[in-house]
């Protein structure tokens, strides 16, 4: 489990710059694994529905999503007259190619009357290795022990 919230000044600066606080350790998974990304958000207002989009990829000037490592699911909020914290788990199937230093971000989208809302970008949070592979499995010799 990695807590991406920081209670440090560094964390606050990162949020301002649009980059989230990286976890203390990087997650390493294999192709075919599923990564559960848990979000929290505070909401108040009328009943509203939209989608949450979560993607791994590489951030440079923009965030280049890996189309095989992303998920989009419906979400609903409210009605809440006061602020309420929602926890939203999103399971992301890890397909496509292997790679290192994947970045992560999510956005709330397709909410009527609300512009898309983005998490900070979390840098270098994921390495993806290939599935276990075996080659040349055979008996090379047999003899009396």
């Amino acid at each position: 489990m990695r807590n991406l919230y920081a209670d440090t000044v560094e964390g606050i600066i990162s949020e301002v710059e649009g980059v989230g606080v990286a976890p203390s350790g990087k997650l390493t998974v294999m192709i075919g694994d599923t990564v559960r990304v848990t979000h929290t958000v505070r909401y108040r207002g009328k009943s509203i529905s939209g989608k949450i989009h979560t993607a791994f990829g590489q951030k440079d000037t923009t965030f280049n999503e890996d189309g095989n490592k992303q998920t989009e699911i419906p979400v609903s909020f409210g009605p809440d007259s006061d602020w309420k914290t929602y926890t939203i788990p999103v399971d992301v199937y890890i397909g496509g190619n292997t790679g290192t230093n994947y970045d992560l971000y999510s956005k709330l989208m397709s909410l009527p009357g609300v512009t898309d809302i983005f998490t900070p970008t979390y840098l270098n949070v994921l390495d993806v290795i290939g599935a276990p592979e075996f080659q040349d499995f055979k008996i090379t010799d047999y003899s009396k022990a």
Binding site: M1, R2, N3, L4, Y5, G20, P23, L27, V29, D33, T34, V35, R36, V37, T38, H39, T40, V41, R42, Y43, R44, G45, K46, S47, I48, F77, G78, P79, D80, S81, W83, T85, T87, D91, L104, S106, L108, L111, G113, V114, I117, F118, T119, P120, Y122, V125
Partner: protein
């Protein structure tokens, strides 16, 4: 015992115990206090937002000169609500509070409350009061603190 012509008198506590609280419909609303019970107050919010939990408390006074069983029922916009406890033994002149909670619908409501007393063979509807709860407008959708709190391999 008091004399209220045309009304069944309540049974004294200990003489007959009600098996359950009042069930089913209500008659014509009474005006002012009932014959043996008086809904002296209905405590609750004057307005609530859609989806809010509305907590109410109903104070009912025993007008009889002896202890009787009293119960309360309620309804808003055609929806029955259950008050707790189901009924109570209330000494003469005392006031007892019943409570209930419900979810505010997406419109203004009129909450009707009825008081009942046990006659020894049935529940008799006695007093009635009604209050309005306005629908509080919800704020425009607002989000804050959106972030990833954790990620892990499943």
């Amino acid at each position: 015992m008091e004399i209220n012509q045309g009304l069944p008198p309540p049974a004294p506590v200990g003489e007959s115990t009600p098996p359950i609280g009042p069930q089913g419909g209500r008659g014509i609303a009474a005006i002012a206090a009932g014959a043996y019970t008086d809904i002296v107050a209905i405590y609750g919010p004057s307005e609530a937002a859609y989806g809010d939990t509305v907590n109410i408390q109903v104070a009912i006074k025993n007008l009889a000169t002896y202890a009787i069983y009293i119960a309360a029922t309620g309804r808003y916009n055609g929806t029955d609500i259950t008050l707790s406890p189901e009924y109570a033994s209330v000494p003469a002149g005392n006031t007892y509070s019943f409570t209930a909670s419900f979810t505010m619908p997406n419109k203004k409501i009129t909450l009707d409350i009825w008081s009942w007393y046990w006659t020894g063979s049935e529940w008799y509807q006695d007093d009635h009061e009604a209050v309005s709860i306005q629908l509080k407008a919800l704020p425009s959708p607002e989000f804050s603190s959106f972030g990833v709190s954790d990620y892990s391999k499943t």
